[in-house]
Amino acid sequence: MKTTTASFLCGIVFALGLGIAGMTQPSKVIGFLDIAGAWDLSLALVMVGAIGVYFLAFRLAGKMRAPMLAPRFSIPKRNDLDGQLILGATIFGAGWGLGGFCPGPAITSLASGAPPVAIFVASMAAGIYLYSIVFNAPRVRDAAPAALTADA
């Protein structure tokens, strides 16, 4: 129950951050990726802010025996690089540049009620299902030992 509430509140803060940062505007995302056009570097600063805070939090987490509301940390431990990681990131990047949405901003933008966003999110869900059908992927879960294979 506590983790459910915490997740809900974290989702709200995450969405507000995305909106303030400009991540919910495909023009900002595509502007960041359009180095040959009117390049907009703003999203680099979104990453600097977010990574900076998270870097500190991760160091803090390293000093904790367990998270505050859960029995243990579920952190990916893989360090190897494989073709699937590279190919997946390449495919994702192509979709990101094509549509101007990544998953978080797309879901947040559903609240706008704009039909194109709903179309994008439905297609994204289809893509997730497609992966689990074609590759017969095991269900995503972050409990050990599956945590050793999933990054996010």
Partner: protein
């Protein structure tokens, strides 16, 4: 760079970082949105409620943005439907195959100095840059 919005970007980024940090310190979980969505769509017993509530939070946050910051949904560029459908499919498929998206790899992964996430992030940004170049400059898509 007439669209550069450094302060809003930094403040928004810090909020994203705080949310992801709270997920880590409170629940010990990675705030990777693509992974959270995949878990909602393929539910596993005992591992679904936190995911559903995070997604619900994103939606409620979106409704709040509508009220306090409506310009967050001034999309600026909306690609034509066929392109959006293909884009959605690629994002869904690619994030599952690569185990993460902008949040899981780009923020949480780089924040914990994971080599996999650094490579993934450089790869999807490079792929996005090439795609935008092709779509905007070679195909001359509506922007």
């Amino acid at each position: 760079m007439h669209n550069f919005t450094p302060f809003a970007a930094l403040i928004g980024g810090i909020l994203i970082g705080l949310s992801a940090s709270a997920m880590l310190l409170l629940e010990g979980r990675i705030a990777g949105i693509s992974g959270i969505c995949a878990g909602v769509l393929n539910p596993a017993k005992g591992d679904t409620s936190w995911r559903v509530s995070f997604v619900a939070g994103l939606l409620v946050g979106g409704v709040m943005l509508r009220i306090i910051l409506p310009s967050a949904f001034d999309f600026g560029i909306i690609r034509p439907y066929p392109m959006l459908i293909l884009a959605g499919l690629l994002v869904g498929l690619g994030t599952r195959m690569g185990n993460g998206c902008t949040s899981g790899h780009g923020v949480c992964g780089i924040g914990r100095l994971s080599p996999r996430s650094m490579v993934a992030t450089m790869t999807f940004i490079a792929s996005g840059v090439i795609t935008v170049y092709v779509v905007n400059h070679l195909m001359g898509a509506a922007r």
